[in-house]
């Protein structure tokens, strides 16, 4: 039982519950038996459908009954009654959208009570897949509502990406532009990106939104690289997608405010770590000026130097924030997350740029020595201030210092 308080019932309360339960159990068992008997008889009638509604309303986790309900749709309600009792042929596939719309209404009522029930979400997807004319924009509006009530509901996010996927593929099949990427589909990635900005503006501690943002950034850059027309359209509203290094700089600026507001919130830090340390963005940045075919190698090195500069600047900025936090702390302790991210950036420098850091450029080579010293100091401090994870820091110290020996 997730999140339900343990209660000690008094003798009387227990007796009352038992009494109440006796009636509820009788009702539930009777209903259950009625539904299962009908299923055995392959009864796909309206009556069987109504009973399954009643049972699922009591217990939406009862997956077998969702299966039965789908059987009733496929073998009963969706079927053209043809020469059945009424002798009319009117009911045919044309009725399916209306039948399924009604089902979606039933599901919304249930989702309000059970927002985390997998089976309901799954049935909702089934309804869309079996509807020749699904109203996908309605679904998007519904999921907006659900995420505005609980912005971390992972069912809601999953459903959102699912709906976006359906809209994209239905757009794709309707219009086919010669570039292979259709205009409305591309706008969708961008509007989804802007949606994450909206949510983050409301509350930057929304890791679900940050996660989705990371996926969309990769997707948008992939498309701008392939399609100039698309790129132009994107730049009209979102000039930060001009190139990756520029994007990175703007994004870091945008999130700086967040880490200053609450330096102990890990969501933004984890996202910043992605921006600064993952191959996703750093590799993209390095590829950036490749349209200039001459001097590819030196260009590449130039880019690497730009990134090193950017990373060093980030370390400096985060150190400043840490100093502020330290002076505010009663015990003058360092801020855990500042140091955690600084060591991540330092490890990235060691992992990816060690060759450039130890070149004869004296500035850098000096820097490398002090970088290593500082890295070790940071780990030693973290062992003190973040004791839950002290063994991780000890492992990192061991791994990296072994590597430094061979420099």
């Amino acid at each position: 039982m997730h999140g339900i308080k343990r209660e000690r019932l008094s003798e009387e309360a227990r007796r009352n519950k038992k009494l109440r339960d006796r009636a509820r159990i009788r009702n539930y068992k009777t209903l259950n038996a009625m539904v299962l008997v009908r299923r055995d008889k392959r009864d796909y009638s309206e009556d069987a459908f109504r009973l399954s509604t009643k049972l699922l309303d009591l217990n939406p986790e009862y997956y077998t009954i969702w299966n039965y309900r789908r059987e009733i749709f496929l073998n009963g309600l969706f079927q053209d009654p043809g020469d059945a009792a009424k002798g009319e042929t009117a009911v045919s596939n044309d009725m399916i959208p209306a039948i399924l719309e009604r089902e979606l209404k039933f599901l919304i009522v249930l989702l309000k009570r059970f927002p985390k029930c997998y089976w309901i979400w799954n049935h909702r997807m089934w309804c869309l897949e079996n509807n020749p004319k699904p109203k996908l924009n309605n679904e998007l509006a519904i999921v907006n509502k659900i995420l505005s009530l609980d912005s971390r509901n992972f069912h809601g996010w999953h459903y959102r990406r699912y709906i976006i996927g359906l809209i994209e593929s239905s757009n794709g099949s309707k219009s086919s532009t010669n570039s292979g990427i259709n205009a409305s589909g591309t706008e969708l990635s961008l509007s989804e990106f802007n949606y994450t900005t909206e949510l983050i503006n409301l509350n930057f501690s929304n890791f679900s939104a940050l996660h989705n943002r990371s996926k969309l950034i990769i997707k948008i850059f992939k498309k701008t690289n392939l399609d100039n027309q698309y790129k132009e359209a994107v730049l009209k509203t979102n000039p930060e997608f001009e190139n990756k290094l520029e994007f990175l700089t703007k994004e870091l600026d945008y999130f700086k405010n967040a880490i200053y507001t609450d330096p102990d919130d890990q969501s933004v830090w984890l996202y910043l770590r992605w921006l600064l340390c993952s191959n996703d963005l750093l590799n993209l940045s390095m590829d950036d000026n490749d349209n200039n075919n001459d001097n590819n190698n030196s260009n590449n090195n130039n880019n690497k130097l730009k990134i090193i500069k950017l990373l060093l600047l980030q370390i400096k900025d985060i150190n400043e924030l840490n100093d502020l936090e330290k002076s505010d702390d009663i015990n003058s302790l360092d801020n855990k997350w500042c140091l955690k991210i600084i060591i991540e950036i330092q490890m990235t420098l060691f992992d990816k740029f060690i060759d450039l850091l130890k070149t004869n450029d004296t500035n850098n080579s000096d820097y490398l020595t002090s970088l290593i010293t500082n890295f070790n100091q940071n780990l030693t401090t973290l062992i003190q201030i973040d004791p839950l994870r002290s063994n991780r820091y000890l492992d990192l110290q061991r791994i990296y210092n072994k590597r430094f020996e061979t420099l």
């Binding site: 997730h2 339900i4 299962l36 971390r152 993952s278 996703d280 839950l388 991780r392």
Partner: protein, 327 residues
């Protein structure tokens, strides 16, 4: 308070009684509302009893005949209860129960073939598995399918290769895994993906194990409990999902065991037995198992050792045929 914490222990006898009595709660409405979890519940209860050294406190014949009564004659899998449809979730539990009771031989060749056909038939061309024919896709189902086939010794290259590529697509920037490609990392999904990779002896598929290890270690919060995603509340079940994942990555020491033990022990019902998601919440058999399994992985309380990959006693899993098969 500190003194009181020091004395906290695992109430083994109470937990055994709690589990054994679960099947006598039929005067409570909730008992009837949870039929769809009965097979899983039996697996959770039996495994917890085993870890507590009390695996014989359920009647073996009763358990086996219940499992067999849940076979779905139409699709060949196991349902959660008689007349409930076969589904991967209950199928894995059924197989785990029989294996734990050293009774897989109650399944005849036809039963096994039905099972294997049912499981393999649920794999989609992209390597993912649906839970049943109605299409729900989730990395949970890759784990349940692969673990089931592994226990039965029926893995094949044809099933394995696409599964690996799907799992690869589910890894995120934070190192974790989500339920499908594009979905946010979640500790339980991390376990299902790592567990699958460990069964298939392909942990090399993971991009950056140190990053994933870090993300997992950050699940531990100040009170010692573990959460499933950043900025969420701790929950005893993550003592299993996170800890087993760290164990698979050989980084079990990356969180504080003593504090996690305190959190789990504080979530016990000291009066009636059982463990809840958090201190003072209602207990259930799911959290009871995962609390005890977490303690076992950390080698506390003299519990029977648990296998982090199969979530079954090591005594049992050491007999499984290992992939890749040599003969």
């Amino acid at each position: 308070m500190a003194h009181q914490q020091h004395e906290l222990t695992l109430f083994k006898e109470k937990h055994i009684q709690y589990i054994v009595n679960l099947n006598t709660k039929d005067k409570s409405y909730e008992y009837w509302l949870t039929e769809h979890l009965r097979m899983n519940g039996l697996y959770w209860g039996l495994t917890a009893l085993y870890l507590l050294g009390s695996q014989n406190s359920l009647d073996k014949e009763d358990v086996i005949s219940f499992v067999l009564s849940c076979k779905d004659p139409v699709n060949g899998g196991f349902g959660a209860f008689p007349k409930h449809d076969g589904h991967l979730l209950s199928t894995l539990s059924a197989i785990q129960i029989l294996a734990t009771l050293d009774s897989l031989d109650v399944l005849n060749e036809e039963d096994i073939n039905d099972l294997v056909d049912f499981i393999i038939g649920l794999q989609l061309p992209n390597g993912s598995f649906q839970g049943d024919k109605y299409g729900e896709i989730d990395t949970r189902f890759i784990y349940t399918a692969i673990s089931s086939l592994s226990i039965l010794g029926k893995l094949t290259k044809k099933v394995v290769e696409p599964s690996l590529s799907f799992i690869k697509d589910c890894q995120n920037f934070d190192g974790g895994f989500g339920m499908v490609p594009g979905a946010e990392s979640h500790a339980a999904q991390v376990f299902t993906c790592l567990g699958t990779l460990a069964i298939l002896d392909r942990l090399d598929v993971i991009n950056d194990q140190n990053l994933l290890g870090w993300w997992l270690s950050e699940r531990q919060v100040a009170n010692g409990g573990l959460n499933g995603r950043p900025e969420k509340l701790p929950d005893v079940c993550y003592s299993w999902w996170v800890l087993s994942s760290l164990s698979i990555l050989n980084k079990l020491s990356w969180i504080d065991h003593r504090k996690l033990r305190q959190f789990i022990l504080h979530s016990q019902d000291s009066e009636n037995g059982g463990i809840s998601d958090r201190p003072d919440n209602q207990v259930d058999v799911y959290h009871t198992l995962f609390g005890i399994a977490g303690l076992s992985l950390m080698k506390f309380e003299n519990l029977v050792a648990i296998d982090p990959v199969y979530c079954m006693p090591i005594e049992i899993t050491k007999k499984f045929r290992r992939w890749p098969y040599t003969e």
